[in-house]
């Protein structure tokens, strides 16, 4: 019997405290049968990568509204590389300017979901990538 579950870490790095979006995503992923590890506010890239490795997740979901993504994205990618954990994929949401998206995808962000994205699309995306 296959009991494997998709595991996703949802993290809220940076200093802004608006975690409603992250919580909505966490709940939606749960309701689609995934196991979601929610780590809370103000997590550093080091905390996030360490947690992702310990929890052996398929995806890290980063929710960033403050503009700190330009610092945090490269750092998380670098730390995953350092820890030989590049198989953990990164998805992101929040406020990421459209014109920047190609740049971030090129350096290793797997997908970016802006405001207004349906949770169903995110769930579909994750399900397709894991299979």
């Amino acid at each position: 019997m296959d009991k494997a579950k998709i595991r996703v870490l949802i993290a809220k790095p940076g200093l802004d405290g608006h975690d409603r979006g992250a919580k909505v995503i966490a709940r939606a992923l749960r309701d689609s049968g995934m196991e979601v590890i929610y780590t809370g506010l103000r997590q550093s890239p080091e905390d996030i990568v360490e947690a992702a490795i310990q929890e052996d997740v398929h995806f890290i979901g980063l929710s960033i509204l403050s503009g700190a993504h330009s610092h945090i994205f490269p750092k998380v990618i670098e730390l995953l590389k350092e820890n030989d954990a590049e198989d953990i994929k990164i998805i992101a949401g929040g406020i990421i300017p459209d014109q920047e998206i190609p740049k971030w995808k090129e350096i290793g962000i797997d997908a970016i979901f802006g405001p207004g994205t349906s949770t169903i699309d995110i769930i579909d995306y994750i399900n397709r990538s894991v299979k």
Binding site: L29, R30, E35, A51, E55, D56, N83
Partner: protein, 308 residues
């Protein structure tokens, strides 16, 4: 990762390898057997502390404080925190890390575990997950159960020291008389000690203990206020007292009886599965129809199926 590489890395205490092994164990993956066979002699070296109690009692916060205290005492810690799986979607939001900030900051290995439909407060694979975690060479394994009800007593079959956390405001003294979770505590803890009713709850627990038969180890009753870090030193001292008590009382014998209990469970599961496959779905369907038509009674049906 191939099992061979995984085993090699596990023996080096590699964090990623341990995390992967835990995943394989909880998925009940076929590869687990050969890996556990290989590393079995290296496991069983940590002192296991279980923390259980109702949802919202403060278990995760207490685990965090215990982890912090352990670090101050130069001990290495691993944490397994179990949260419930949704019975509807099969998914789970695992939020215990949220309350384990100081443990997270000190790089302690924390693994959030979903119950995946298992009842009793733990998961079907907790015992082996503890063994997997022990490959990191930790002195102590802290196991936090699902927010537990009165019947969720499985932790006692796993932990060396079981801490039962209660909070004021959940019921009158009759609740304290009921069988179940309170009986399994080696340490009884009243958390949220700054709330009204905490003193009364502590007294009621004491009363409950004094009414029962006198045992060699009387569970101490400790009051803590985890959010203010009050009472943690006392808790730590009592854990050590219980550990010393067990060491004088032949801890090996107690651990052996727990392993025997696990083995019985595993064996019965194995025999059950093997026999069910041997009998086959068709035969069961066939017999059910005969019973329905009153051609045979259930007892004879079982006797005949077992004979096969």
């Amino acid at each position: 990762m191939k099992p061979k590489d995984l085993i090699r890395k596990l023996k080096q205490g590699d964090v990623r390898a341990v995390a992967r092994l835990l995943t394989l164990i909880e998925n009940e993956d076929k590869a687990v057997e050969s890996i556990l066979k290989n590393i079995w002699p290296l496991t069983g070296n940590s002192y296991i502390i279980g923390i259980t109690g109702p949802p919202g009692a403060g278990k995760s916060t207490l685990v965090d404080l215990l982890a912090k205290t352990a670090i101050e005492n130069n001990l290495k810690i691993g944490i397994l925190a179990v949260d419930p799986t949704s019975p509807f979607s099969g998914g789970a939001v695992l939020g215990d890390r949220l309350r384990m900030n100081s443990a997270q900051k000190s790089g302690i290995f924390i693994r959030s575990v979903a119950s995946r439909g298992h009842l009793g407060g733990l998961t079907a694979t907790t015992r082996f997950m503890i063994n997997g975690l022990e490959m990191l060479g930790n002195d102590i394994t802290l196991v936090e159960t699902v927010g537990a009800g009165q019947g969720d007593v499985e932790i006692v079959k796993v932990a060396d020291t079981t801490i039962v956390v209660e909070v004021p405001g959940l019921g009158d003294e009759v609740q304290a008389q009921k069988a179940g979770i309170l009986e399994i505590g080696d340490i009884l803890l009243v958390n949220k000690g700054d709330r009204p009713g905490a003193d009364r709850l502590a007294k009621e627990l004491k009363m409950m203990l004094s009414l029962g038969e006198h045992k060699e180890w009387t569970p101490p009753i400790i009051t803590t206020t985890a959010t203010k870090e009050l009472g943690i030193e006392e808790l730590w001292n009592q854990i050590n007292n219980h550990k010393k008590y067990l060491e004088n009382k032949e801890i090996d014998e107690i651990r052996l009886s727990k392993i025997k209990y696990d083995l019985e469970n595993q064996l019965s599961q194995y025999l059950f599965t093997r026999k069910m496959i041997q009998i086959g779905e068709n035969e069961i369907q066939n017999m059910a129809e005969k019973i329905f038509n009153r051609e045979i009674d259930p007892f004879t049906a079982i006797e005949e199926m077992i004979k096969q």
